[in-house]
């Protein structure tokens, strides 16, 4: 794979719902092997970007190329190269993990034996081997999230888009997922990581993008974004996006209920 050529190329991306413009001209080049931390306040346009990248939304202005494929022209090829785990995703929980992964794998056109083999190995790696053939309606949220993560990588995609992938996971699983992300990146996979958990984003991503009101307002590594040495990502985030909400102050909340 040519590492010098962007795997995701977004130019002048705009998207409106009615008269409300959500994305106001986004330009991005993402290279293979990068772990992108995509952060921003609620309603900034994060999930709209993700929906466009995953081929769910097709009516946007501007250009989105993934692996040199125009996503408007050929969304299916793009979809087959992407692994996507939506935020708070649901699954058909009357199925067992094996059955669910079999179903998902087949939607990606995989063959029976390959699915079986990968699903078993992945489930084992995530510590779910005891539950291979148990229905997921008895699973905890973390166990379901693991299955979802597996369903996002089982077809060995080039690009992995994760939306709050750690929700519901316990501390041990969080460590595994963090490791997994860096290993995947070493394999040359591109990770697009959306989250509100600043401390995790700070640690896992080698490039952080901050979107606010439909524009990318910061783009660079954590080191580059820091204006002084003691900053955390949380502080940077708040400095860059918090100014409109300057009147939000925790002490006002306390005085309101006193």
């Amino acid at each position: 794979m040519d590492v010098s050529k962007p795997i995701i190329r977004i130019s002048n991306l705009r998207k409106s719902y009615g008269s409300k413009e959500i994305l106001k001209g986004i330009n991005l080049d993402i290279y293979p092997g990068q772990v992108i931390g995509y952060i921003g306040p609620n309603g900034a346009g994060k999930s709209t970007t993700v929906k466009i990248l995953t081929g769910l939304i097709n009516d946007f202005e501007g250009e989105v190329f993934i692996n040199d494929i125009d996503i408007k022209e050929d969304p299916l090829t793009v979809k087959s190269q992407i692994g996507y785990v939506p935020e708070n995703a649901e699954l058909y929980d009357v199925l067992t993990p094996m059955e669910y992964l079999d179903f998902v794998g087949k939607l990606y056109g995989m063959e029976d034996t390959l699915i079986q083999q990968r699903a078993q190995q992945l489930l084992k790696a995530f510590g779910l081997e005891e539950n291979l053939n148990n229905r997921m309606d008895t699973f905890s949220k973390g166990m379901r999230q693991k299955v979802l993560l597996i369903s996002g990588i089982i077809h060995n995609p080039q690009i992995i888009i994760l939306d709050e992938p750690l929700s519901g996971l316990d501390a041990n699983a969080v460590i595994i997922v963090k490791e997994l992300i860096s290993l995947l990146a070493k394999e040359g996979k591109t990770i697009f990581y959306c989250s509100h958990m600043m401390d995790v984003v700070e640690k896992v991503s080698d490039r952080i993008m901050l979107i606010s009101e439909g524009n990318i307002i910061a783009d660079g590594s954590f080191e580059q974004l820091k204006t002084n040495q003691s900053d955390t990502l949380e502080q940077i985030f708040s400095k860059l996006t918090g100014k409109e909400d300057g009147n939000i102050d925790a002490s006002h909340i306390i005085s309101a209920i006193r």
Partner: protein, 557 residues
Amino acid sequence: MQKLTLKFILLFSKLWTSIGIDVAQLRIIIETKLTIDDRRPLASFTKNQNKKPAKNSTWFQFFIFSLMGLMFLSFVIIIPDKFLATSLFLTFILSILSLSLITDFSTILLDNKDQYIILPRPVNDKTVAFSRILYMLIKISTQLLPITLPALIYVFISWNIFAASMFLVQIVIAALIAVFFVNIFYSLCLRFLSIQKFKDTISYIQIFFSIFIFLGYQIGPRVMQSFTEGENSIYHLKLLWISPGTWIASFQAMLVKDFSGLTLIFASLSIILLIVAILGSSQLFSKDFNNKIAQLAIGDSPVKKEELSQEGKISFYKKIEKIFTNTPLEKAGFSIIWLITSRSREFKMQLYPTMAYLPIYFIFLFLQGKNNTLAEQIDRVNTSGLYIMIFYLSLFTVLTVFQLITKSEKYKAAWIYYAAPIQQTGELMSGVLKSAFLKYFVPFNLIFLIICVPLFGAHVTNDILLATAIGGIESVLVMLFLVKSFPFSQSIENGKSRTIINLFILGLLALVGYLHIVIHEYEIIIWVITIIAWIIFLIMIKYLKKENWKSLAFDDN
């Protein structure tokens, strides 16, 4: 209408407060629930939403219930004895209401959202329980009104004002008793049965309900006949004595100065019943009930550590899948339908009642002629070709299955269809079709084959084959024109009424069935048509695979 009922009930605030209910909380809970009903959520992945489906279906429901009401009206018109007429009327109202409450309202009563929203707040159990009952009462009034309206109008015109007003009061009492007793029934069930058993019980009652209605249509006219022929009164019809409907009706007898011992007993029984109902249901609902409901949310819990498919051993559906499907996409459609339909309670609960008609109809086939021996009956059914009708009746199941498989409580899990690179939706859907067809239609025909060949002779084989092919063609057509969503991708609440289209399809099937009966003696013709029908069916499946549904596209809402 609903708000009015609520206002009326809140008139008795003092009484409610005295039994420990917080009226302000009660009011806000019910008002909120009614508001939520007005704003039923639209499924997030659907396009082509009919803008006002709910309104139409409400009116259609009103129409159907009024028709039922007209049937009940006949009791009041035909039977001169007011006591007897009211008894029968109320008995039927009571049974219809109770059954409809048990079956249709189980979702309301067992709503586990209360668990997360209301129970963490300082609301006492009695208020929660009562709000549930009241909500059911308000909802049931939309059924009660059309059912009773025809009779009420008639009664107010032709009876004197006292009898008519009493009739109205009696209907209200009957409704109250139905609602309270169904609540008691629920809490008793929940107390003594495991969650799994309880779910099954509800399904059985639902099946019983449909059979009951079906039997009603068959037997009703004969019963009416016997009522009009002989001179009858409550004193002769001892079976009616045990019906609470009769007890409530006894007030009619008192109005005409009948103060016999029986009447007095009935009257006191009905008052006791009402008191027991109200007290019982406020006592029985306890923390227990809510805890149990919380467990319901967990769904069908499998046996612990149950290995659903052993390694090395290929499960049954996989074998069938291998024979009938080719591409991975088709296999995906096949397996998702096969697996989820076996395990989803909601699916089973809705499908099985519609299947219950079949055996009953089969028996009725042989009961229609009068006083014949069984051999004569079989011969009659055989020569007339009436047995063919049952093959076509089983096609109704196909229609139901295909409409149910798009719906699920877990409809949000359908995001995966939009994230995955699905080239040909038709391929996925042909897997869906094959699965549903093989699982829910072919077995019927096999059973028919096993029963009918010994009974009527080998000549029924082509009839069954033809009906199967027509069922197949029907499935493809339903798939192409009615099923416009991915499997299990629609909210259950997003109930678009397809009743008119369904009735049309049923009519069409009945017509085809009738034509089949007309030509059933010409065996060669049937064979030829059978072969043609199978060829058409197989070509249609090929065509279906190539179809790419635009309506399945992602809708960003």
